[in-house]
């Protein structure tokens, strides 16, 4: 079953972690959104079912620049009645914020009746904040489809009028040669300031001339870019725990749930057009949580539409 939701978010967190910014956090936000949606549904004895995964499309993206404006950033949580000396800023208030029209294509095993799910979504979605931002939804914010073929995906995207959305896909396969990174510098070398596009023949020619004198990493990455059309970006791919799960820590949002201290894990992603996603269902556009407590890995894995 596929559920498509399109909404406009204002003040969405654009801080993936202390290392990434912009849309890097969107896969995490989308996976978290679906998880929260499921939690809300469970209270009403409903469920999206197992194997929930979500594709995320982005339109109308704009980043708040954080001007010297106390109305936006760091002064927001001042408690003026306490006086300036006792201001209580929040980490969230220092985050980069952005506005964007988000399209979520949620794929799950169970087949809920369309109307009850639509009703729940209409009730629940506005109360679910997307990464601490505000959600503004119109009447046509959800469409529910049954089926799992390419035609269904195409209908879902068209029905919520997201044909201009740029979908975020995982491009781990860009890492070739089977080699692991030796250092962060090696990883950074995979990212490029100059993205490519489907019609980048001229860029390719320019890149070819600039190969001389480049490092091995740069040559390798340019080669990938010539082979892979798209807009390559760094993405937050999850977390790696540095402590075991610990329950009962004071000040936890839920003291009954164990907490782990974890560091961000980065990966490569790519923005592709909705048309290209519909044309090639093999692309890894669906994000889902993956965890391995023994290894301390909490990742957002991506799978193709067919899998």
């Amino acid at each position: 079953m596929i559920t498509a939701i399109r909404f406009h978010g204002v003040g969405i967190s654009a801080s993936g972690s202390l290392l990434t910014g912009g849309a890097a956090a969107f896969p995490r936000n989308a996976v978290g959104f679906v998880h929260a949606l499921e939690r809300h549904l469970k209270r009403q004895a409903l469920s999206l079912g197992e194997n929930r995964r979500v594709a995320i499309g982005v339109e109308n993206y704009s980043l708040h620049k954080g001007e010297k404006n106390p109305a936006t950033a760091k002064m927001a949580l001042w408690k003026p009645w306490k006086g300036r000396s006792e201001m209580a800023p929040s980490v969230l208030d220092y985050e980069l914020k952005c506005d964007a029209t988000i399209t979520l294509i949620i794929d799950a095993d169970d087949l809920l009746d369309v109307e009850p799910l639509r009703a729940v979504l209409k009730t629940v979605v506005p109360s679910l904040r997307f990464a601490n931002g505000s959600i503004f939804v119109g009447e046509r914010f959800s469409q529910v489809f049954s089926g799992s073929d390419g035609e269904t995906l195409s209908r879902a995207i068209k029905a919520v009028r997201a044909s201009r959305a740029q979908f975020m896909i995982s491009r781990d396969k860009l890492v070739t040669k089977g080699r692991e990174f030796d250092s962060f510098a090696d990883g950074l070398a995979l990212f490029d300031e100059t993205p490519t596009s489907d019609d980048s023949a001229e860029e390719g020619a320019a890149e070819a001339t600039s190969d001389a004198g480049d490092t091995e990493d740069a040559k390798l990455a340019r080669k990938w870019h010539r082979q892979q059309a798209g807009w390559v970006v760094p993405l937050e791919r999850g977390y790696q725990a540095v402590t075991p799960p610990i329950s009962g820590r004071a000040a936890a949002r839920d003291p009954h749930i164990p907490s782990v201290v974890a560091t961000p894990v980065l990966g490569l992603g790519e923005f592709i057009t909705a048309r290209r996603l519909m044309r090639n269902l093999e692309l890894n556009a669906f994000w889902h949580p993956f965890s391995d407590r023994a290894a301390g890995l909490y990742l957002f894995n991506a799978s193709s539409f067919n899998s």
Binding site: L18, G21, L92, A251, T263, V265
Partner: protein, 410 residues
Amino acid sequence: MIRKNSETSLASLVKRSVCTVRKKDMTDEIPCLWSADPDGLDRWASALLAEVGPKDTSRESLENYFSQLPSILGNIGTHGFKLPNPEVSTRPIFAVRPNPASIPRGLIGEALLPPGLLYSGDAAKIRFAKFLLAKVVLDEEPTRVLDQLLLGEDCALAAALIRAGMPTSCCNETAAAYHEQLGSDLAGTAIHPLGKQIFYEEQGYEDVIILPVASEPMIAEMHRQAQSSGRWLASRKLCAVGGANPVNGGGLCSDLGGAFQLLMAEPPGAADSSLAVRMARGGRVYTRYSIRGDNIQTFTRAAPLKQIVGNSEQREKEQVAYDWFADVLMAPLLAADELVAAGTIAKGEEWAIGTYLKRNREETVGEPMAQAAAIEVFDLVARAHLSLLRHSADQRIRDVLIEKMTGALL
């Protein structure tokens, strides 16, 4: 890069070896010592204490200095929070979990970085941390003073420090504090109230809360990469986290100045909605979202204008609330004014705001002009936020705010 030290360069090498992280440190140039050369070790120990030790080299002063080393260990770790509030005292944590045997291909994990220890804490005590974290190459093996102290007083480097005035008991005390920190029970540690907490769906379990932190070596290396010219790097943006006064975070935070370089992932054709760009396109300074609804709610709760009946403390709080909210209301206009002064043309502005922004800047701002701009700002914001409109139905509230807003422009 490791260079063998000459006599003349020893002092400068020691100086560099105690700088935990420096932007200019693209390479490590650290002293190279040999266990079989006690004279060389003694000279290095003296140079190290001259660099980071007490100025007064009397026995009492040295004992006092070394007695503080164990307490510094709590501020040394591999990972740490970086919080914007300078009042916050947070401590770094050691990575107590081993790295996974294999990290999935295509993921850049911090586990792949060599482990590093850094100090985060009171900058006034950084010299103690610099002593413990001072780098040295001993018998061709890179090491730190801390690592050598943990080996005990029989170690050649520790012995040299003892000869230079370090109490013999310092090794054992430091080791005890180190192992106590390693074995500390995190269950008793409260999650920091400013820390982010992310609910995560975990297979086979109910849920787990992720508390994201970043390793300081990771941030430091990213910062170095960003600084190094010619590197091939993703688009970056500077994210200020706390202005010029971040947590007194030792070498790392001091060097970063409270700012992170973030790897940015932006969609193709992402719009730039900054004030400068909006103005350049002929847009207006005040939009529906120029003032946050949260701020208006805060103001309406905090400033009911009951000065007549409230006590002095209540009146003071309300006055602070008015001052703060007047600043909030005027901030976009003042930011735009700075941009205009820097050359941006306020094409989209007219009426009182336009008059203010396009004024002759060689003349002082007159009160009528400032008041007219303040009234227009207030009306614009109130029109977009009904809660402010309702709250300011009391003319006194509106008058007090306009007066304070006018003052911000004068």
